[in-house]
């Protein structure tokens, strides 16, 4: 009798000494680390959760997410399309819920700017007073089907990208990208900022909307898919997607009157390498929302930062946020700035990583691989490491450097806990003072704590203790 059929193949978890008598070729030595970041009680919950019920739910969830083919259909004023902000005075912000009093500098600056932009106050002091008195409701973008980068502040009069799910008519929204420099999303609110926002409201939004109406919906999945083969990763590098989007719309826009506006719009698009980021974000939001509330699923549906806390949402726990305090990103800084100047991590843009773009698609983007240590090999390693925590490759997002395998997509809380591998997020770094702007970029990992919380909550929902 042999017990180990057909031949011995031994997985060694721990001391190599234990298998020193076994031929090395028959040993698979694990690079093991304690599960659930060393929280044994959570590791046990995760083990119990990891059953057929969860597997079935996750299969349904990831199929739902991967089946969404978001279409860029319109660019409309937020108050017309984003639910719950048409009446009264409501401003949306990035990340999980946070009260005005606890907000970071850039987010406070952005809310002041948005208040001025809406004409609810004449001066920054008045705006601040309104916010202090709670006369303006602040709410997360995510609670309204929307996402915004950095401070992510969305005001009712701002134009938003409308991403539509053609199969069921669901919508998701994102603000329009203002470009770099002094911009609202980094907390700037001077005249230059308000003037640009007004132009975006009065000229850019309507022209883009007319162009889309004339051109027809743009398939965002294929736009991003194409950009991934042109060196974008869909989060920190968007020059390819922006160029593709501009190229599609430019002939239609060029024919519009007055031509001075058309030219201004085309110049704006030509000067903003990140314009398509917000399209990518709206698309990712629409995709991930397809899994929200999928009972028993451990799929992450949102990762978002409000500049104070990191927030995580999971399909099986619906609208619940798991949050923990975050620090600043470690990264590369623009000349004159360093880690001491950096604001804690900020923005809804990690929705792109939630779908498998950004840090997960790093292999696609040789140009920005320096963030992960310097060369394309590291980027490929980064992408491959994300396979360890995801449910499967995204069929519509093949990455050329990994032989056209789909980007790792769909973070599974249980896999994060089992492997101890944390999601990689490509991010811009904001100055901690409102209005200074972007001072660097880098990589962050999602904090372990939120995954521990998620496992406890999911176990509780299933009556597991």
């Amino acid at each position: 009798m042999t017990i180990l059929e057909p031949v011995a193949r031994i997985i060694n978890v721990g001391l190599p000494l234990i298998v020193e008598g076994v031929p090395a070729a028959d040993v698979i030595q694990l690079d093991w680390r304690p599960p659930a970041f060393g929280e044994a009680d959570v590791a046990r919950l995760a083990l119990i959760l990891d059953d057929d019920v969860t597997a079935d739910a996750n299969a349904r969830a990831i199929t739902a997410v991967h089946s969404v083919r978001p279409q860029l259909t319109r660019v409309r004023p937020a108050k017309e399309v984003v639910p719950g902000i048409a009446d009264g005075r409501t401003l949306l912000h990035a990340g999980p819920p946070i009260e005005w009093e606890r907000m970071c500098g850039p987010m406070r600056g952005a809310l002041i700017g948005a208040t001025l932009f809406e004409g609810w106050a004449e001066t920054p002091d008045q705006a601040e007073a309104l916010l202090d008195r709670g006369e303006i409701t602040v709410d997360p973008c995510h609670h309204h089907g929307a996402v915004g980068p950095m401070a992510g502040v969305l005001a009712p009069s701002m134009p938003v990208f409308v991403a539509t799910d053609p199969s069921d008519g669901r919508l998701a929204f994102a603000s329009l990208n203002e470009g770099l420099g002094k911009v609202l999303r980094f907390g700037a609110f001077d005249d230059e900022v308000i003037t640009r926002l007004s132009w975006m409201r009065d000229v850019l939004g309507p022209i883009l909307d007319r162009a889309l109406e004339a051109f027809g919906p743009i398939d965002i999945t294929s736009l991003i898919g194409q950009a991934l083969s042109m060196g974008d990763e869909g989060h920190n590098r968007n020059v390819a997607a922006t160029s593709l989007l501009t190229r599609r719309l430019a002939p239609t826009i060029a024919a519009m009157e007055p031509s001075s506006d058309a030219i201004a719009v085309l110049e704006f698009l030509a000067g903003n390498d990140h314009f398509a980021l917000n399209v990518s974000m709206a698309s990712a939001k629409l995709s991930m929302d397809a899994a929200v509330g999928m009972e028993n699923s451990t799929l992450v549906t949102a990762m978002a930062r409000n500049g104070v806390e990191f927030g995580l949402r999971v399909a099986g726990s619906g609208a619940e946020w798991f949050t923990t305090t975050v620090g600043p990103a470690d990264g590369l800084f623009f000349p004159g700035y360093g880690p001491d100047d950096a604001n804690p991590d900020l923005g809804d843009s990690a929705i792109t990583e939630t779908l498998g773009l950004g840090g997960f698609a790093m292999a696609a983007s040789p140009a920005i691989t320096q963030f992960v240590g310097g060369n394309p090999d590291d980027a490929i390693a980064a992408t491959k490491s994300m396979r360890r925590i995801t449910l499967g490759p995204h069929p519509a997002f093949p990455l050329p450097p990994i032989n056209f395998a789909g980007t790792p997509s769909g973070i599974d809380v249980l896999k994060v806990l089992d492997t101890g591998v944390l999601p990689l997020i490509n991010t811009g770094i904001a100055h901690k003072l409102a209005g200074v702007g972007q001072i660097g970029a880098g990589i962050v990992t999602a904090p372990p704590e939120v995954f521990l919380q998620a496992a406890r909550s999911l176990a509780n929902r299933r009556g597991i203790s």
């Binding site: 978890v13 721990g14 008598g21 304690p34 590791a43 083990l47 590369l332 000349p335 492997t419």
Partner: protein, 499 residues
């Protein structure tokens, strides 16, 4: 942002030279780390970037550069430092990163390991997991392994008994072995796992709840010319009332069905009463179907079939178990005891590395009515913060030297355990310590004797003869078995008291 010290600001413009901003930030960051460099800017000289430089007081007043030009700006403590930094930054533009081949990530979890096993062409699936991580996590990892259909060798200890019972039930339901927890020795399909001697393969199936017990029996069988079909460890608690012999029963099922197993020996401390009753009746059942069985239950009274336990030979020592099993397998193991030497005054101190060998010594000395102090140096109270003395023999060497200075000690009993997992040369530290201790004792006119057995085989990595020679050369009295060494000591004590 001005530096308080006197600084210089130098710049260099590379005309019509483009690099991605990320590449430039990386160069700036690397250059900034140079001694004497305060700040570095590396940008394409677009209006926006010139603004950024200006904001941080890094824009040279006379900068003549256009958007398509690359500009390096260095603020440093001296002109020379600045120039060197600019040179370094420029060199960084063309430096080729040494890029190794992509190192494939090793699997980190059981699921990944199972997947990795199948990664190559024609690779066979994984079928056993050896687990030696902290006991807190061992049950979690073991359960994942059982779910993957893997047999388990769980070396980890500090596993709760509830977990042990649950996991063993899961294992039995899944048709796999759960060897452990705290299981240090197994030989499966001839493959040694943990601390195991290199013994010949053969027809005796072993089920062992004790590590060094299993080693002593298997190596004595080997000495008798009898090989082992399987040595299945079950963990020291398997025959306790709490666990109820779940894995012993499962292992016996396997061995009973195995055509390659013609005799079975179970090695354990005495089982709890209820478990013993059930187990003996199970063993009798196996014996009655023609497969003879030895129950080697340490400390139990020897018994032969057709008296108390028909069909099952019971032996209370490892040596006795090995002799009886060899006999059933058609071989005789003759153990020749040593001739007595002149009695040694002073008490008996046992310094053991093998827990079951220490137990066997205690049992035999107790039966002989000899006062003794037998230490199991592998016990937690002695190992705190150090490797097990079978792996690292130095801890015991210290104890031996201490005993050299203890005038009450006359005779020191030792074990030297060989095999996989054990120290590559356990005899040498013992020999050195023995010589040091003896010369210490002799310097005050005291006689100190050392008696040892070597638990090993000729095929062990250490080689039993080489190890025995090292010990013999140091003047250690060598017995063939642990039991024989103990009997020799008992005889000396009897002689010492008689004289």
């Amino acid at each position: 942002m001005n530096s308080p010290k006197t600084t210089v600001l130098s710049s260099r413009v590379l005309r019509h030279f483009y690099r991605d901003s990320v590449a430039l930030m990386a160069i700036a960051s690397a250059t900034e780390k140079r001694e004497g460099v305060i700040r570095v800017g590396a940008v394409m000289a677009t209006p926006a970037n010139r603004g950024i430089l200006a904001d941080s007081d890094m824009l040279p007043p006379d900068l003549n550069a256009e958007s398509d030009d690359l500009v390096f700006v260095v603020r440093a403590e001296s002109e020379d430092t600045a120039k060197e930094a600019l040179d370094a930054a420029e060199a960084g533009l063309t430096a080729v990163e040494t890029s190794g081949a992509i190192e494939e990530q090793r699997p980190g979890t059981v699921d990944e390991g199972v997947h990795a096993a199948l990664a190559g062409d024609g690779e066979s699936p994984a079928n056993l997991a050896a687990i030696s991580i902290a006991g807190t996590y061992a049950p979690i990892v073991a359960e994942r392994a059982i779910r993957n259909g893997l047999h388990i060798l769980c070396f980890s200890d500090n596993v709760a008994v509830e977990d042990e019972v649950r996991l063993k039930k899961l294992a039995v339901a899944g048709g796999v072995l759960f060897m452990g927890p705290d299981c240090g020795t197994a030989i499966i399909d001839g493959i040694p796992l943990g601390f195991a001697n290199v013994v010949k393969q053969g027809k005796v199936g072993m089920v062992a709840a004790s590590g060094t017990g299993a080693q002593e029996v298997s190596r004595l069988l080997d000495l008798a010319g009898v090989g082992v079909s399987q040595l299945i460890g079950v963990g020291g608690r398997d025959l306790s009332a709490d666990v109820g012999g779940i894995m012993t029963g499962f292992a016996l099922d396997l061995l009973e069905r195995d055509e390659g197993t013609e005799a079975i020996v179970v090695v354990s401390k005495p089982p709890s009463t209820d478990v013993a009753t059930a187990l003996i009746s199970r063993l009798e059942g196996i014996a009655s179907h023609g497969k003879p069985v030895v129950a080697c239950f340490l400390g139990m009274d020897d018994a032969d079939p057709d008296s108390v336990t028909p069909g099952v030979v019971v032996r209370g020592t490892l040596e006795g178990g090995a002799i009886a099993t060899a006999h059933l397998a058609g071989h005789e193991l003759a153990v020749t005891d040593l001739d007595p030497i002149e009695p040694v005054p002073g008490r008996v101190l046992g310094l053991f590395t093998g827990g079951t060998l220490a137990s066997e010594a205690k049992i035999i000395l107790k039966r002989a009515g000899v006062d003794c102090e037998i230490l199991d140096l592998g016990d937690d109270q002695y190992t705190a913060g150090r490797p097990h003395p079978m792996i690292d023999p130095e801890a015991r060497a210290d104890k031996i030297i201490e005993a050299g200075a203890d005038s009450s000690v006359g005779i020191i009993l030792l074990d030297v355990v060989l095999g996989h997992g054990a120290s590559r040369d356990p005899a040498t530290p013992v020999a050195e310590a023995v010589m040091a201790a003896r010369s210490e004792a002799e310097s005050v006119g005291r006689r100190l004797e050392f008696v040892a057995s070597v638990c090993g085989t000729a095929a062990d990595p250490q080689g039993i003869e080489r190890q025995r020679t090292i010990l013999r050369d140091a003047g250690v009295i060598l017995a063939a078995t642990n039991a024989s060494a103990v009997r020799f000591v008992a005889a000396q004590q009897a002689g010492a008291h008689a004289s």
